[in-house]
Structures are given as structure tokens and as C-alpha cells.
């Protein structure tokens, strides 16, 4: 009896230890370089005044709160309504980068984010008819030309909380860029043509990265003006292929997609890279909202002289949707493999990793 207990607890401990060691690799599929960590104390005021977005606004008398954390935990119990957060920061950006990504974590319920007075993103809908976006991770692209590389920059976040807990509540709060993106032979991040059944929300038409009929990729479409949209949308993009790059053995990386996708290059449907198919018979094309998409480009499909066209049909069943993070572009198979491998491993739960470890 006593022995039995010892064996079973020992086994449990061992499984726990393995699960734990596998979990540490979970951090992120992306190869992100942090430029500014914005976690910590911010200036905070309840109320609402659009002039608080102006960089020179004097917030010396504002309260100080910790971000990310609900404002209830920051001492504002029972408060619902408008509030603003402000923070000053310095940043140095590599020259070849046109956009950096501002992660604001989860905001409960609605937000507008201003960098140096310019509206860089908005999610949800402000009163009187509020729509929450509390379950959408806020990632907004920031054009590097609005950043002050020599001195002071200011982020101002306008938040509305409709019910219960509110504020910039959790998640990574930082400015980053994706190092793997720089390895692409053809960089396909940025603006894509976008067709869906919904009109973009009015406020998002004032976002500086907004272009009519287009969407900035990567990013959840809920954080680009299509709040509460589930169903199908079509992303498409035309590009020219650089003459100095081989078109043999190339891979199309499409970031991570929520939930399912079908991909066409110059009219032909693409197949998932063979390694991904081989690694796991459980992996089915398009079935994983955490998995980095990697597609094989057949020989002679790329037009080396003319215009190539990629079309991605995305279907989202519920919650946030779209091509939402990760590296997007065309790159040689050998360069792509480590990126794919990392993306594959990092999407597995500890249990799946455990199963893979023993049975693959």
C-alpha cells in the first residue's frame, strides 16, 4: 500500500517535471526584438478629453498606476467609464525598419491609442452604443517615421470600460519588431487588399495606417476596425519577385492564422510544407489557430518577370480572427526551416509535446 503511493506520486512528479520543462519553451513562436518595455507605472486620469492625446499635455498632476493591471486593482474600485493612460519613452529603431509593433495587451473594453499625438490604433466602440473588445490582444503597427529617435515620445491611451473590471488589464506591453521578418527574400508584411462582408468602423478610418480596402498584416482584424467579425474574409496581395533570388525550393510563410485558411498563388492552391505534414499526422492543414503557416511553392509557379498574386481565404469561427502574428513572406526552404520548426514546437501544449516526444 505504502509502496504503491510512493510509485504513483513519484510518477506524477516525473510527469509534472517533464511537462514543466517543456512548458518553458512556450514563450513565443516569433523571434521578436523588444525595443521598449512599457510595463510599469503610467500616468492615469479618469475622464475624457481628446486634447490629452497631444504630446505636450501636462500630466504632472495625474495619478500613477501600474500597467498592466485592472484599474480596480489600482485603487479605482467601482469605476466604470472613460480614462486615459499616458507614458513617455525613448526609442532607438534600426534604419531598415518601416514599422514597429506596439503591443498594448488586453484592454477592457474599448481603446484608442495615440503615439506622439497620432492615432495608431483603435478597437471596440465607444459610447453610446458600446462594443467591447476585451478579448482582443491589441497590436498596432507604428510607422517609424512618426517616432522621435533622438528624444521624447509619448503614448496616450483612451480607454472606456463598460462593465466590471477596466483598463489595460494584462499582456505584454511593449514595442517590438520581428527579426525573422528581415530574413525574407520577399517581405509580405504590411498592406494587403482585404474583402469582407462588413464595413470598417468609422474611428478606424482615422487611424494613420488605414488605407481604404486594405488591411495591415499581421494583426487581428478586430484590432483593425472589424470588431466582432466572424466568418470569411479574403486577403490578397500582388508582388514582383526579385530577379536575384532563386525561385526553386521556396517557402511562403503566412504567420499565424485564426482559424482556417486556404492559400492560392497565381491561381494555384498551395500545400503545407512536407515537414509539417510529416512531423505530425495529427496536424491537418489550416486546423490550428496557433500554428505558423508554411506553404511549399511549386517550381515554375512564380512569374519572375511579371506580377504575382497571392490570395488567402481566412475563416474565423469565433473570437479574434485573421492573419494575426508571425513572419510573413517568401524565403528559401533552408532559411525557413528553423523558423517553421520553432513555430511548430511552440504551439503544442505540454501534453501534446509529451505525446510527440514518446510516439513520434
Amino acid at each position: 500500500m505504502k509502496l504503491n503511493i510512493n510509485i504513483s506520486t513519484g510518477l506524477k512528479l516525473a510527469i509534472l517535471a517533464i511537462a514543466f520543462s517543456l512548458q518553458t519553451g512556450m514563450a513565443s513562436a516569433e523571434n521578436l526584438r523588444g525595443l521598449v518595455n512599457l510595463k510599469g507605472y503610467w500616468k492615469f486620469s479618469i475622464g475624457d478629453d481628446l486634447s490629452w492625446s497631444i504630446p505636450s499635455h501636462n500630466d504632472a498632476k495625474w495619478e500613477r498606476v501600474f500597467v498592466p493591471q485592472t484599474w480596480e486593482s489600482n485603487g479605482f474600485h467601482d469605476y466604470n467609464g472613460f480614462a486615459w493612460y499616458r507614458k513617455h519613452f525613448n526609442i532607438s529603431v534600426p534604419n531598415q525598419i518601416d514599422f514597429v509593433y506596439l503591443n498594448m495587451g488586453y484592454i477592457d473594453d474599448v481603446d484608442e491609442v495615440y503615439v506622439n499625438g497620432k492615432l495608431v490604433g483603435a478597437s471596440g466602440k465607444f459610447p453610446p452604443l458600446v462594443e467591447t473588445a476585451f478579448n482582443i490582444p491589441r497590436m498596432y503597427p507604428v510607422p517609424t517615421d512618426i517616432l522621435n529617435r533622438e528624444g521624447d515620445n509619448v503614448i496616450a491611451v483612451r480607454v472606456f470600460d463598460d462593465y466590471h473590471e477596466g483598463g489595460i488589464v494584462r499582456g505584454d506591453i511593449e514595442i517590438v519588431y520581428d527579426l525573422d521578418q528581415l530574413k525574407m527574400s520577399v517581405d509580405l508584411s504590411g498592406y494587403w487588399d482585404f474583402e469582407c462582408f462588413k464595413n470598417v468602423d468609422v474611428i478606424n478610418q482615422s487611424v494613420i495606417t488605414y488605407k481604404p480596402g486594405k488591411i495591415f498584416v499581421p494583426g487581428f482584424w478586430e484590432a483593425r476596425g472589424y470588431n466582432n467579425m466572424d466568418g470569411k474574409a479574403i486577403y490578397s496581395k500582388e508582388f514582383r519577385y526579385p530577379s536575384d533570388v532563386s525561385d526553386n525550393n521556396q517557402v511562403l510563410l503566412l504567420g499565424v492564422i485564426d482559424d482556417e485558411d486556404e492559400v492560392y498563388l497565381n491561381g494555384e492552391k498551395l500545400d503545407v510544407v512536407r515537414e509539417l505534414r510529416k512531423w505530425s499526422s495529427r496536424y491537418r492543414y489550416g486546423g490550428n489557430h496557433m500554428l505558423l503557416r508554411a506553404y511549399e511553392i511549386p517550381e515554375n509557379l512564380i512569374d519572375r518577370r511579371g506580377i504575382n498574386r497571392i490570395e488567402v481565404i481566412v475563416e474565423d469561427h469565433s473570437g479574434p480572427g485573421g492573419i494575426y502574428k508571425g513572419t510573413i513572406g517568401i524565403v528559401d526552404h533552408d532559411v525557413a526551416m528553423p523558423i517553421i520548426k520553432k513555430g511548430y514546437k511552440d504551439t503544442k501544449s505540454p501534453f501534446e509535446k509529451f505525446i510527440d516526444y514518446w510516439f513520434d
Partner: protein, 345 residues
């Protein structure tokens, strides 16, 4: 079989206890009162019933003295059932703040109405002929600040149907709400009220609607057991000093959900205004309502019309507690920052 029955009764009693406990803790959470004036003393008292006894100028010097709280049966009116009135006065000199003043009358057996300076500030239960008792309801009423003068007369009209009668129990006194919002314009007091899902369509005839005290449950004001849709309306005028400011409309707490219009424009709602919201937002009734008003919507020197649609799906309903009125955004910010400071000390 028999044994099962016993267990059922046993657990039943515990469940009732627990429910009572939950009910109590909700009440305790709801308000943060501090007593600032004691009214446990001798009041003027007369059996009978005359409307003019609410009038502050009425001369009650010939009335009896009676201890409050106590059943009048124990104070010389043994066996009396029917109407009686209580009167007393208080001065504002000792009061720290008249903005957030509440009159706590405790338990009154069976039905009552409370007047301050001749204006009714609340009632609980129902007088005959549609008599309905509220002897087990503990009451505290907001005293609208625009009623308050140097010396103030409280008059309480009581109807006792049988058994003990009067202001029988409780810590009777003047209270202030420590969490009260320091309003610039107090809009608590008598509003217009109409039940029904489409009541708002007759807003043009709001003069013919019923009167209701805000804040206060509608169940206590003649709508016992009413669940469903209702409309509150108020006309008010505003000093033009406030027109340059961003204003916030405080509506206290509302049971369960609401949708608010000012001068015909929707300014906010506590979630989608439909029954399913009540179950999604199960503690909507505990949320403090503060609606930021769009600028240029308030008018000076003419009537502003406020319309609040309310949906209550069970138990108490309506704009039932808290600070009701307008406050400038600057003052609202200061209030919440102070409140944060207090909660940290």
C-alpha cells in the same frame, strides 16, 4: 420518506439563513453611511390623518410627545390601529454636508410616507384601500438638497393595520453617504414615472405620469411586485456656467439595466437594452452609473429633458440608490482620485 422530509426541512432552513446572510451583506456593501444627527428622541405625535400635518408651518404644540423608536402601544396608545403622524425638526447647523443627506427611519409598522418641509421624499408599503404592509422593511431616504433650509420639519404619516404600530425600531437619525459624489447639480427628488415597454413614447405628456422619488425602489412607491420595463423622466434647467464644461451625469445604481437619453439623444446604456443583458451582467445593479455627456447637448435657460428607460427582471427595481445629478468632469476626477486615496489609507 419521513427522514428525507426532515433533511429537506433542515437544509431548507440553512438555505434560508444563507440567503438572508447574502441579502444582508449586499445591503452592507451598498452604502457607506455615517450618522451625523441623532433623531432617537421625543417627537410630536397625533393619531388621525390630515394632509396639512405635513406642512412645516402647522402648529403641533398641542400634540403629544412620544419616544422614537417605539411601538405606540407601549407609549399610551394601547390597542390603537389606524393613521397617526409623527413630527420633529432638525437644524443644518451641525451637519457637515447637506448634499448627501439621508434620513434613516428604520422599521415602520405597517405603511408610511415621509415629508421634509412639506414635500414627500418617500413612501413604503401601500395605504388603504389597496393596503399592503412593509413592517419588515428598513428604510433610509435621500433628502433632496434643494429642500433643505436652516430649520427643517420632518413629518411621517403612518398607517397601522393591526398589532404594534409606529416607528418601532432602528437607529433613527440623519446620515451622510461617505461615498457620495459631490454633485454640482443635484437631480435627486421627485421625477416622473411610467411603467411599460413603450412608456417613453408618451414623453410629451410626462406631466400626466406618476410622481416617483429618485433614488428609491419603485416597489416601495406603489409598484409592489412590478418587474419589467419602466421610464423615468425629469425636466430641469441649468445655469449657463456649466455649458463650457464637460459634464458627467451620475445616476447612482440602477436595478437592473438602463438606457439614458438627454434632450432626445442617446447618451449611454448599461449594456444592450434587452432582457438577456440582465443575465449576462448579473451584478449590473451594483455598478455606479456615470454617463459622460457630449458637449453642446445641455441647454441653458431652457428645459432639458432627461429620460431613463429601466428594465428590472426580478425583486427591487429602478434608480434605487446613490448620488443623482450632474458634476463637472474636473470635480468627478477629483472625487475618484480622493476615493482612491481613501481606499489606500
Amino acid at each position: 420518506m419521513n427522514r428525507d422530509g426532515c433533511i429537506g426541512r433542515f437544509y431548507g432552513r440553512w438555505i434560508v439563513m444563507i440567503l438572508v446572510f447574502i441579502g444582508m451583506s449586499v445591503n452592507l456593501n451598498a452604502q457607506n453611511y455615517k450618522k451625523v444627527g441623532d433623531l432617537k428622541k421625543k417627537w410630536k405625535f397625533s393619531i388621525g390623518d390630515k394632509q396639512e400635518w405635513a406642512d412645516p408651518n402647522f402648529d403641533d404644540s398641542n400634540w403629544e410627545w412620544i419616544d422614537v423608536p417605539s411601538a405606540w402601544e407601549n407609549k399610551g396608545f394601547y390597542g390603537y390601529d389606524g393613521f397617526a403622524w409623527y413630527r420633529t425638526t432638525f437644524s443644518i447647523n451641525q451637519l457637515p454636508d447637506t448634499h448627501a443627506l439621508y434620513l434613516q427611519v428604520g422599521y415602520i409598522d405597517d405603511v408610511h410616507e415621509v415629508f421634509v418641509n412639506g414635500t414627500r421624499i418617500g413612501m413604503t408599503g401601500k395605504f388603504p384601500p389597496q393596503y399592503s404592509t412593509a413592517y419588515n422593511v428598513f428604510k433610509t431616504y435621500k433628502v433632496p438638497s434643494d429642500l433643505i433650509e436652516e430649520i427643517n420639519t420632518i413629518a411621517v404619516r403612518v398607517y397601522d393595520d393591526g398589532g404594534e404600530g409606529g416607528i418601532i425600531n432602528g437607529d433613527i437619525g440623519l446620515m451622510i453617504d461617505l461615498d457620495a459624489i459631490p454633485l454640482d447639480v443635484d437631480l435627486s427628488g421627485s421625477w416622473k414615472f411610467k411603467t411599460g415597454k413603450y412608456a417613453h413614447k408618451s414623453i410629451a405628456q410626462m406631466d400626466s405620469w406618476d410622481d416617483i422619488m429618485v433614488p428609491g425602489f419603485w416597489e416601495d412607491q406603489g409598484y409592489k411586485n412590478y418587474d419589467g420595463y419602466a421610464c423615468y423622466a425629469l425636466e430641469f434647467e441649468l445655469d449657463d456656467a456649466f455649458l463650457n464644461e464637460r459634464m458627467v451625469l451620475a445616476l447612482g445604481k440602477i436595478d437592473d439595466i438602463d438606457q439614458v437619453y438627454l434632450n432626445g439623444v442617446l447618451i449611454g446604456q448599461s449594456g444592450e437594452f434587452k432582457p438577456k443583458t440582465v443575465s449576462i451582467r448579473s451584478n449590473s445593479y451594483q455598478q455606479i452609473r456615470g454617463y459622460y455627456l457630449p458637449q453642446d447637448l445641455l441647454k441653458a435657460n431652457e428645459k432639458n429633458v432627461l429620460l431613463v428607460k429601466v428594465l428590472d427582471t426580478m425583486h427591487g427595481g429602478g434608480i434605487y440608490t446613490g448620488s443623482i445629478g450632474l458634476i463637472t468632469q474636473d470635480h468627478y476626477i477629483r472625487y475618484w482620485n480622493n476615493r482612491r486615496g481613501k481606499s489606500r489609507n
